[in-house]
């Protein structure tokens, strides 16, 4: 691979050792535009690893959101389309109904899924469409400059809540996964995080289960992933992953919510 001539380490016994971790085949070898320490890169990679393991790359269609992940199709080496802001579940519904043999998933942020796209996600979930939804929750509007999102936790400082989110003025954070779990059409909802190696592996397991549900025609699956946004949390990447562990999981507890 061309990577080898610009890598840092050399080892004389390298020929004897086997490569156990590298870029998944479903992922393009390009530099991503995300900020340093952003969770999107990890989640993109996990989706690609799952698609490779399930050998569904040729029949997968992803639907990218509006938000920081709007350019996700530049990084994924499988078919991806783009939807209007908040509408990936509606677009995915259309694709899945016309091409039922395809594996269709949406990749949405909290601004896309829990704010402008609330109606679409609720009705898609309620209809029990056989699609997979990857919901990336970083509790802030990343692409537009760090404003308060519906998922911003109480006391969290953002551009539009400089003294912290106040329940009386700004309302309460939206627990959309718990809300969707109440709907009869939903078969699987799990909340995970990408704040440490263990949780990254659990996230991969959850994504795999959500894809398997679709392959087995079980119905609507959603994985909510708590993801760091160091830039708009005004923290270093290392502080940001700690903040998920100490603050965010208090309001958004990890684990299987349904299924």
């Amino acid at each position: 691979m061309k990577i080898t001539n610009k890598t840092s380490s050399t080892n004389q016994t390298s020929k004897a050792l086997r490569k156990v971790f590298s870029l998944p085949a479903s992922m393009r070898d390009v530099a991503m535009h995300y900020c340093s320490g952003c969770g999107h890169g990890i989640i993109h990679r996990l989706i690609c690893e799952v698609i490779d393991e399930l050998e569904i790359r040729e029949k997968t269609i992803g639907v990218a959101p509006v938000g920081c992940a709007v350019l996700a199709y530049d990084y994924w080496n499988f078919d991806t389309t783009e939807a209007s802001h908040g509408r990936p579940p509606a677009v995915a519904t259309g694709i899945k109904r016309i091409l039922p043999e395809r594996i269709v998933f949406t990749y949405q942020g909290d601004g896309d899924l829990a704010a402008i796209g609330t109606a679409e996600i609720i009705h898609t979930a309620n209809r029990g469409e056989n699609i997979t939804v990857i919901f990336v929750n970083n509790a802030v509007y990343g692409m537009t400059g760090g404003q308060m999102a519906p998922t911003t936790i109480l006391g969290q400082k953002t551009e539009t809540t400089p003294w912290g989110r106040d329940a009386q003025r700004d309302g309460f954070p939206l627990k959309i996964s718990e809300m969707l779990a109440l709907l009869s059409g939903v078969v699987y909802v799990e909340r995970t995080a990408v704040n440490n190696a263990k949780n990254v592996l659990l996230t991969k397991k959850a994504i795999k289960k959500a894809f398997l549900n679709q392959i087995e025609n079980k119905g609507f699956s959603l994985v909510e992933i708590l993801s760091p946004c160091p830039t708009y949390w005004r923290m270093s990447p290392v502080e940001a992953v700690k903040w998920i562990e100490t603050e965010m999981v208090k309001y958004y507890p990890l684990g299987v919510i349904k299924g």
Partner: protein, 67 residues
Amino acid sequence: MAYIKIDKEKCKGCLLCMTNCPKGLIIQDEEINIKGVRAVSFKNNSECTGCAFCALMCPDVCIEVYK
């Protein structure tokens, strides 16, 4: 016996690999890369177990693990 390879030009210097390495084998460079950030280097002293915690946490998929 294991080791990792780091693609320094893709590295954004978030240091999540460094803080997740159980053996402390990843260190930050003094010089900057093409992106203008201080990337990381691997201390190759054969203590690496190939656990891949660094690679699992790398948001930019810069790390390859050999075991």
